[in-house]
Symmetry: C2
Amino acid sequence: MEAEFLRWLKTTLQLQTQTHPGIGDDCSTLVLEPHLTPVITTDSLVDQVHFDTAHQPLEQIGWKSLAVNLSDIAAMGATPSYAVVSLITPATYSLAELQTLYKGILSLAMETGTQIVGGDFNSHRGPLTIGLTVIGQASPSQLKYRFATKETDRIFITGPLGRSIEGHHLNFTPCLAEGRILASFPAVHSITDVTDGLVIDLNSILPDGLGAILDADRIPCRNPSNDPHSDIQHALFDGEDFELLFTVDSEFDIKDLTAALPRDIYEIGAVNSNNRISIKYNDNNIQQLDITGYEH
Amino acid sequence: MEAEFLRWLKTTLQLQTQTHPGIGDDCSTLVLEPHLTPVITTDSLVDQVHFDTAHQPLEQIGWKSLAVNLSDIAAMGATPSYAVVSLITPATYSLAELQTLYKGILSLAMETGTQIVGGDFNSHRGPLTIGLTVIGQASPSQLKYRFATKETDRIFITGPLGRSIEGHHLNFTPCLAEGRILASFPAVHSITDVTDGLVIDLNSILPDGLGAILDADRIPCRNPSNDPHSDIQHALFDGEDFELLFTVDSEFDIKDLTAALPRDIYEIGAVNSNNRISIKYNDNNIQQLDITGYEH
């Protein structure tokens, strides 16, 4: 069965990558653009930590495992080029289950132009584990690092936050186009993707000494309930939203950005020199936030 | 504890990589040589499949997890440049255990000039799982692919085979220098590393239609017993030797190769057009070999 899966995989990947050198060899060769800077990211997902095979379809789990890596590529303003996939599955998996899982990875790979050029397959008695490493490329002048945030920057998010666990975390599309467009604007100082939660991820793009104030009324909430306070708590701390969180120079005319982007963006606060993250509610009550987030 | 480990790791890696851009960011930037070709390999190791935490030191397990990946880099004739490490550990691990494991990875990384530029850390209820992806670089004219083996090639190995399970698989040094030197000779047609076993790995570098005959008397055996036949069976089928298996043009004067290499090499057979792999024993008995090897 393992041999059959590997044969299917080899044929499938060869179709996808055409005559790419090195598929099935000790290493695979990467063909990179000389004028671009390569970037690398890796994320492994494990059953009962990042997904739940008892209740979630394998194809969506495969999709998610690539999507979370591509979200990191998007947050650098880069374009994905290559991926390698390390699969460790329960020994009981059937060929059909392995193929279904892999099809989820492949469909997002093809949609985003990510060539899967290598990998590794093992079965064991433990949980399904999917490890991906993705190589992307970006123009060196456009790469967005953390900590380039400035003291008076405005803070934006590409979409609603919170309650991702209800489904979004499994079927989201990584914000690759948004990342590339944002990165092309020098006025966009920092970008990250919301994975651990808005507050903790915002903290990760604030240099030492800087803080931020968020505006509760302007934070878009996913699947809002009839309890706005609860919605905001979910938006602040849930994580796995995979929206892009970015800071923009306060003197920049934001219309140029919104005209270029394929989606609405939401201004949710501003950077300041307070060295802490606070939130202002619509009764003008300001509350300091703990720097905590989602623990898998 | 997890936070403490990540702080230690960040400091440790920053020391190792100095001012490398992107450490701790969504992605890390790779600085590659424009005249070299980048190659990529990935291998994940799991407790009770590739190692045994109950009986083997964590530092050696860490070392092995990088070494098996570097062995693939060596088999391409490439030099390792960067690695990303994905650690999934039992939730019960102490800070000291995590550090010991990581020190095994780091010591080999430093010895081989491999910069660890990123990674991922999770804990769960399952077994220790270590996923590594390594990026190497090689001169495009020197990259050695499989299947370049020619019909009359001579077959060589860089060291003894078999019984790796007695210790070698945990503490071997990947043949990076040997791989680079071998790759610099156009007369060396194919290189691979012995991971699944001599016979199955030899088969992987034989193009369709070609076969090989091995000479039992000339195969170097690790930890030989007083039963030469048993030693040969271990050498043929055990795997995890991580020696380089390579084929050389039959018209090439091998002295040029041996003079350049830091270690002895062993001629163990010859390629032919028989489409099967056989072995000749010292009583001139010739036996066809099954294409099987080590299953984890």
